[in-house]
């Protein structure tokens, strides 16, 4: 598959009159027609609405009213983002007939920026239960290898962007649900700082850990999307009221003289990674050093502490959200959701509070480390995508992952491709910054991406 532009490329071509939003939309719909039956990324494809919107965008742009880089760009939403008049199912039987009466704040903001909505994308059930084969819709397949897992829970977004069905999409991230599918599908995806992007109108999993954010082919595209999504929202009690920088403009700064800490013990001592992930990390360290950053190892509390903190809070909060239905409609949920969320029923209030107190201790330790470094790096995942058939319900409980620490801390964390396995599956680097320094994270990711050839490959469907 070739000739799939990034958002930045398509936006520039549309602005210059070299690309028509209608032609771009038709090309993406043609790819969907050809390949979606194998990828299963969409829960609801709004084929006709997309064409109508593309024609309207094209007319508006021709009339001199171009809104910006996202005007006329094919896009889709994880199906936990509420969309007025369009079903929002959370990939679950329980919400199969749920038609919201209003858009999520981020849906409104992206519509105002001019995206062409292609519809709603697959997810793990309520952003945690998957991959599952006992739900109303199948789990998506990884476009790099159909038998392999997309990662989750923003699984449809990972698959649809990698396949070139849309140029960007939304994800949500409670323990890694933007970064893991970005990693397994070869995308860039950022979990912004907690409070930067509104959660209003997004179905909750865990109130204090949920983050909304963009997923796209490049870091630059994530910067463009974050620009449209970020900002204060009175409808979200956790929303921060801070000025929003120009994320795309700040990409150009480079990373000369930045100080970067490597959390090596997470992936060499606390748990293990595949040799290919270890080699890709060393290569990334070399790239960042060559670009002028000083890189050294740093030490944080063990990965298992972060996992325990994240899991206890997530399960207790998710159970609280779902308790009424778990009591009355337990078997309407998929087995994977039940396996993962039902244990939350047995977490005591004392344990939940212990986890929130531990959370503050962990946050403070991370903040102390980050007084000496601008950024932290580590892998996003311990290996490339596993086979879907090998993914069980309890992996989250068994193996500490590299993404949960930054949900616990609320800090910005970006996943980007940093190589491929011998089998041709994407590998990934994670870059973490201080709270509300998302621009610094994106700048480092952009510098790494520009210095490496990894974005030149696309999956061959």
């Amino acid at each position: 598959m070739t000739n799939i532009p990034s958002i930045a490329e398509a936006g520039a071509a549309i602005a210059a009159g070299r690309l028509s939003p209608v032609a771009l939309t038709e090309a993406c719909l043609a790819r969907i027609d050809l390949h979606e039956k194998r990828v299963h990324s969409f829960i609801r494809l709004e084929h006709d609405r997309a064409l109508v919107a593309a024609r309207a965008a094209e007319a508006e742009i021709k009339a001199g009213r171009r809104r910006g880089d996202l005007h006329g760009i094919p896009f889709a939403f994880k199906d936990i983002y509420e969309t007025a008049g369009i079903p929002t199912t959370a990939h679950s039987q329980l919400l199969i007939e749920h038609v919201p009466t209003r858009d999520a704040t981020t849906v409104t903001k992206l519509a105002e920026a001019g995206i062409i909505s292609f519809g709603k994308l697959a997810t793990h059930e309520f952003a945690i239960g998957g991959p599952s084969f006992d739900l109303p819709f199948p789990p998506p397949c990884n476009p790099w290898s159909i038998a392999h897992f997309t990662g989750g829970s923003s699984s449809g977004t990972g698959a649809a962007v990698a396949a070139g069905f849309v140029l960007g999409g939304t994800g949500s991230d409670t323990g890694g649900s933007i970064r893991t599918p970005s990693a397994f599908c070869g995308l860039s995806g950022i979990k912004p700082t907690y409070g930067l992007v509104s959660r209003a109108g997004i179905l909750p999993l865990s109130f204090t850990l949920d983050h909304a954010g963009p997923m796209a082919w490049t870091v630059e595209d994530c910067a463009i999307l974050l620009q449209a999504m970020a900002g204060h929202d009175r409808a979200d009690p956790a929303s921060a009221n801070l000025p929003i920088p120009d994320y795309r403009a700040e990409l150009a700064g480079g990373i000369r003289d930045m100080s970067i800490g490597v959390i090596r013990h997470f992936y060499e001592r606390d748990t293990t990674v595949t040799p290919e992930v270890g080699a890709a990390m060393e290569a990334s360290i070399s790239v960042l050093s060559r670009l002028g950053a000083s890189v050294r190892d740093v030490t944080l509390p063990p990965l298992q502490d972060w996992q325990a903190c994240c899991m206890i809070i997530m399960l207790a909060e998710a159970y609280a959200v779902h308790e009424p239905w778990l009591r009355t409609r337990f078997n309407d949920y998929g087995k994977c959701f039940r396996d993962r969320v039902a244990p939350g029923a047995f977490i005591s209030s004392a344990d939940y509070m212990a986890a929130t107190r531990h959370r503050r201790e962990l946050q403070e330790k991370l903040a102390r480390v980050m007084t000496d470094v601008d950024l932290l790096i580590l892998p996003s995942t311990p290996g490339p995508a596993p086979l879907t058939k090998d993914v069980g319900s309890y992996g989250l409980f068994e193996i500490p992952n590299f993404t949960m620490p930054f949900n616990v801390a609320g800090t910005p964390a970006l996943s980007l491709c940093n190589g491929y396995s011998a089998d041709g599956l994407p590998l990934s680097l994670q870059i973490v910054g201080r709270p509300f320094e998302d621009a610094t994270v994106l700048r480092a990711g952009h510098a790494h991406e520009n210095a490496t050839p990894w974005k030149e490959r696309r999956p061959q469907l």
Partner: protein, 67 residues
């Protein structure tokens, strides 16, 4: 991590299930009882071995000016 064997007895776990209000089959109870071992391990970890000060504050965001 190998699946940790739960320390809670099946009888005590059944009492927790009854208190929760969940209606589970025997198979579901068996599976959740086995998974409870993970909760015990993680709960012990966040309790920090009982070494935390009584006044240690949680990380909870609360804005008293919210309307």
């Amino acid at each position: 991590m190998p699946t940790p064997k739960p320390r809670i007895t099946r009888e005590d776990f059944d009492a927790l299930v009854r208190a929760s209000g969940l209606t589970l089959s025997e198979e579901q109870k068996n599976e959740l009882h086995a998974a409870y071992g993970y909760i015990e391990v993680m709960s012990a970890r966040v309790r920090a071995g009982g070494s935390r000060s009584r006044s240690a504050e949680p990380a909870i965001i609360f804005n008293p000016r919210a309307t």
